[in-house]
Structure formats: C-alpha cells, structure tokens
C-alpha cells in the first residue's frame, strides 16, 4: 500500500503533538516530584527557625535572609548599570561600531556559564578586592551574571516606546535627557521591572556562582561582609551530602514556590504591559 502524503501529514503531526505534551508532562513531573514530598513539610516554624545540626533539624530562616540579601545587592548594582547601558544603546547611539561591540559583549556575557562567573567572582571579589566570602562578593558576582538579562529586557522596553512620543517631546522644546527621563523611562518602567524580576529569579536559583563567592555558612549575617548560605545552596548541600532528604524536599518545595511566584508576576507584567504597548 502506498502511503499518501496525507497519511504522512497525520503521522508527523501526531508525533509532534506527543512530543510537545511529553515536554510539558516532564516539567510537571519535576515540579510534582518535589512538591508532593516537600509541601506537607512546610509550616511557619520551618520558615522562621534557624537551621540546627547542619540542617538536619530546625528551619531555613538564615538561608532566606541570605537569599534576600544577595538578591537585593545584585539588583541594586545591576539595575542602574543595565538600564543605563540600554539607554545608551537605544537613545544615544544609532548602529555604530561602539554599539555593535557593546551588543556583542552583552550577548557573549549572557552565554558565560555560571561556574565561570563563580571562578571570576572568587579570584576578583573574594581574593583580589579582599571582600572574602561575603554578601558583597556574591551580590557583585550575581550582578554581573544578571546584567545581560536586564540590558536586553530594558532595551526591548525602551524600543517599544513609540517614536512619536519622543518627537512630541522634542517639538515642545524638551532636551534629550528631559525626553528620556520624563517620557521614555516612565513608559518603559513595566518592561524594565520585568527584566529585573527575571534577574531576581536567576539570582534566587543560582548555586554554582554563589557557593564560590558567598560561602555556605548558615549563621545569620550581620553585615555586607558576612558569608551567607542561600536557599539554593542549602538545598544542594542537604541533597548532595545526604544530610536530610526530608529537609531537602522541604527546602526544594520552598524554592520552587518562590520561583513560581516570581515568574508568574514577571509573565503577567510582560503580558499586561509589554505586549499591549
């Protein structure tokens, strides 16, 4: 029997449907596996108690503080740098040699693996600048890592502000800077915030770069120069060293919930503000 091209089409489309749904199924499998075991173990005490006995007992309070501190430092440093770079690329220059070099640089930076950022942060911030394993070293390393994400989303956001807005501002006698500050940036803010949130998500989930630059001490930090342990690092150490599977599941579930929340908000903002514009 000769196979007609319509049979081929049916078969091919069927295979693609199966492949697409298996991809989604695997994603839900991964989330479900951790949440099923971990969610029942979550309670207020788990979030508010310090880890005890290397993490076998107690909660994850200090690792929450660690995650928060590191992320805040990373965002405070990366946001102005990233948005400034995007403003330069979109508002102060047309396609030129300088802008091509900067774009190539940020594209390459986006592809650098996190372990390389870890090595760099270790030798540059921890040793060369003598910051030691600390919130500051880890935050600066993460800031370098999330910079490309913030630059590219900020660039998109600035690009999506219609050109006529600028023309009106110039026609009213606004200078370039006034136009950027009063017209372009206010309209680009939702898009910029989306990029910042994506950066937050990456910082929260990062392990390799953090463990080499911020250490893994779970004493609650008291300054920017204290070493800390993030939730992701805590989860990794609990699981890999087999300290406590129960605690690993609980920490993993907390981590997944946090990532889900951050991504939902980022996606909602992208949908609500960026694509509508």
């Amino acid at each position: 029997m000769k196979i007609s091209r319509h049979h081929t089409q049916g078969l091919a489309k069927g295979v693609i449907w199966v492949a697409a749904f298996s991809t989604l199924a695997v994603m839900f499998w991964i989330l479900y596996q951790v949440l099923r075991e971990g969610l029942p173990l979550l309670n207020l005490g788990f979030f508010l108690q310090a880890p005890r006995q290397m993490g076998r007992a107690g909660g994850i309070f200090s690792t929450i503080i660690g995650t928060l501190a590191l992320t805040v430092v990373a965002i405070i440093i990366a946001t102005p740098l990233g948005v400034g770079t995007a403003i330069f690329l979109r508002e102060y220059t047309r396609e030129s040699r300088v802008s091509r070099i900067i774009r190539f640089g940020t594209d390459c930076l986006a592809g650098v693996p996190s372990i390389i950022f870890g090595l760099f942060g270790f030798v540059f911030f921890v040793i060369f600048l003598r910051m030691g394993w600390s919130i500051l070293s880890g935050g600066l390393t993460l800031a370098s890592m999330i910079l490309p994400t913030i630059i590219s989303t900020a660039e998109e956001a600035i690009k999506s502000v219609p050109y006529t807005y600028r023309e009106v501002s110039f026609a009213l006698g606004g200078t370039r800077w006034q136009t950027i500050r009063k017209v372009v940036l206010p309209n680009a803010i939702p898009g910029i915030l989306t990029g910042v949130l994506l950066g937050v998500g990456r910082s929260v989930g990062e392990t390799a770069a953090v463990i080499l630059t911020a250490g893994s001490s779970f004493i609650t930090p008291d300054s920017l120069f204290s070493p800390i342990r993030t939730m992701a690092v805590h989860f990794y150490i609990l699981a890999r060293e087999g300290i406590s599977m129960e605690m690993a599941y609980a920490t993993g579930a907390a981590l997944i919930l946090l990532i889900l929340a951050i991504n939902t908000v980022a996606n909602w903002m992208m949908y609500r503000y960026v694509h509508k514009a």
Binding site: R5, T8, Q9, A12, V15, I16, A19, A20, T23, L24, V26, M27, W29, I30, V34, P80, L81, G84, I87, F88, Y92, V98, G105, T106, D107, C108, L109, G111, V112, P113, S114, I115, I116, L119, F120, F122, F124, S144, L147, I151, T175, R176, W177, L198, R202, G205, T207, A208, L212, A232, Y236, A239, A248, G252, L255, I256, L260, N263, N267, Y271
Partner: protein
C-alpha cells in the same frame, strides 16, 4: 561641556563598564590558569588522562571526553523534542493556546539547576540502575536531564525564527498544493535554518556550561568513561567539586580548566551570533 554632552558621555561610560565585565572575567581567569597550562605543558594538560592533583598530575582529557558525551547526549534528547515544540507552538496550535504554553516553557528555563539535578538523582538514577544496571549515576542520566534543561533555549529561538518567516512562503507552498506538513518540512524549516542552528548551538553552550545538576547525577569519576552507563566528570563539574578545597597548583589547574571552558563557550557563542545575524539579513 554642556549638561547634555556630559550625560551622553556618562551613559557611554556605563555601557562600556557593563561590557568590561567580560574583559575582567577573561583577564582574571587567564591570569590564574594560563601559567599552570604552561608549566604542565599544553599537550599533557589537554590530552593527559590522569587527574591526580595530590600527585601533581593534571590531565583533563577525561573531562573533555565527559563534556563531549554528555553534550552530545543532551542534543540527541533535546533537539528533536525542542524542534517539535517549536513547530507545535508556531504552526500546529491556536495562537491563544500558544500564548498560554509559552510562559510554561519559560518556567522550564527558570527552574533552578539544583532542582533538575535533584529530580535526576531521585527519579532517573534509580530507574537506570534498576533497569539497565551500572551505578545509575551516568552519562545517560546526565544527558536526559541536560536534554530537558536546554529545551527552553532551543524552543524559544527556533520558534522566533519560524514565526519571523514571511507569510508568503506558506501561501506559496499551499497554492502549489502542498499539505501543511509538506510546507513545514520542505519550506518553513529549511527557510528558518540559520535561526534553528543558532538555537541548537546556544543550547549546546548551555549544556557544556551546566554544573550543579551534573555534579549531582554524573557520579564524577575521573576515569575515561567507556559506555553511556558509566560515571563521568565534565569540565564544569571538575571545577565545581574541587574548587572548595583546592589550593596552589591544584587551584590553578581548576582555573586552567575554566580557560578551556571559556574558549569553547566563546567559540560557540560567536558562531551562534554570526548565524543568527545571517538569518536576519
């Protein structure tokens, strides 16, 4: 100088400092790693198959082979699945459904790599150990997990390049009497070729660079792997495992491993950038 000029220069300065990070990374990693490569000899560093830091024996050939197999395995898993998803989202499903599914694919990119590693460790490793034998911690387990991890990169870039094609391509094929599938297979996919290849190369870069998940599921043996069921160590996991306690020459050898990794990644990135630029032109 006017205020406007000063502002313009400051933004240029900000932009340049952003990319100077890349230069700093290269400088510091090379400065730490290259002297040791020199001391050991480039040949015996890259092609030596013995890694015994305590005996001053630094050969990373097993890690290069490990990275190669795991990356190849991840492509075998990830490329067909990723292409199928990209075609599904751009051609086979209703735009509204695609709009709901796309954030889920994004979520796949946002799940931390330690979670993937953990899932591999508790689900795939025992499954492989019980059904195929061996330690379970293996190249096969690593390839499967990495194959899933590179999906978002492959799907989003391939889908973008499929959707960027002019409508006329499709209309032309339909008017010649081609079925939808013939149009996808013979017209759309070939036309989006450079974007698709770029997506695969970027996925490859992600696979080679992944560390934590691989530490958890590859078993980390320093011998040359001899089958997909044997344990292995990659360039990244070599750094990730030993960096915590290494010092002296040993630490420098890990930075030298980083130098090799850096060159591979930069090569792949440049290739992908050239290809995607060609696709746009």
């Amino acid at each position: 100088m006017s205020k406007e000029k000063i502002l313009e220069k400051s933004f240029l300065l900000i932009a340049l400092s952003s990319i100077s990070i890349l230069a700093l990374i290269a400088f510091f990693i090379f400065q730490q790693g290259i002297p040791l490569m020199w001391k050991v000899g480039l040949n015996s560093f890259l092609l030596g198959d013995r890694w015994f830091p305590s005996k001053e024996s630094f050969g990373i050939f097993p890690m290069i082979v490990g990275s190669f197999w795991v990356t190849l395995g991840s492509l075998i898993v990830g490329v067909p699945l990723g292409m199928a998803c990209a075609v599904f989202l751009s051609e086979l499903t209703h735009p509204t459904i695609a709009m709901i599914l796309r954030p889920m694919i994004q979520l796949l990119a946002a799940i931390p790599s330690v979670i993937y590693g953990f899932w591999g460790l508790i689900v795939l490793v025992p499954l492989i150990r019980d059904s195929l034998g061996g330690p379970g911690l293996s190249i096969l387990a690593g390839s499967l997990v990495l194959g899933i991890m590179i999906l978002p990169t492959i799907i989003s870039i391939s889908e973008d390049s499929l959707r960027a094609l002019p409508r006329t391509y499709k209309e032309g094929a339909f008017s010649l009497g081609a079925t939808h599938w013939q149009t996808i297979w013979r017209v759309l996919l070939p036309a989006a070729r450079s974007g698709i290849v770029a997506s695969i190369i970027l996925g490859m870069g992600r696979a080679i660079g992944e560390t934590m998940a691989m530490i958890m599921i590859l078993g980390n043996a320093t011998q040359l792997p001899n089958s997909i069921l044997s344990s292995a160590r990659t360039l990244t996991t070599n750094i990730g495992i030993e960096m915590g306690y290494a010092s002296g020459d040993h630490r420098q050898a890990l930075f030298a491993t980083g130098v090799v990794l850096f060159f591979i990644i930069m090569g792949l990135n440049s290739l992908a950038l050239i290809l995607s630029r060609k696709g746009r032109a």
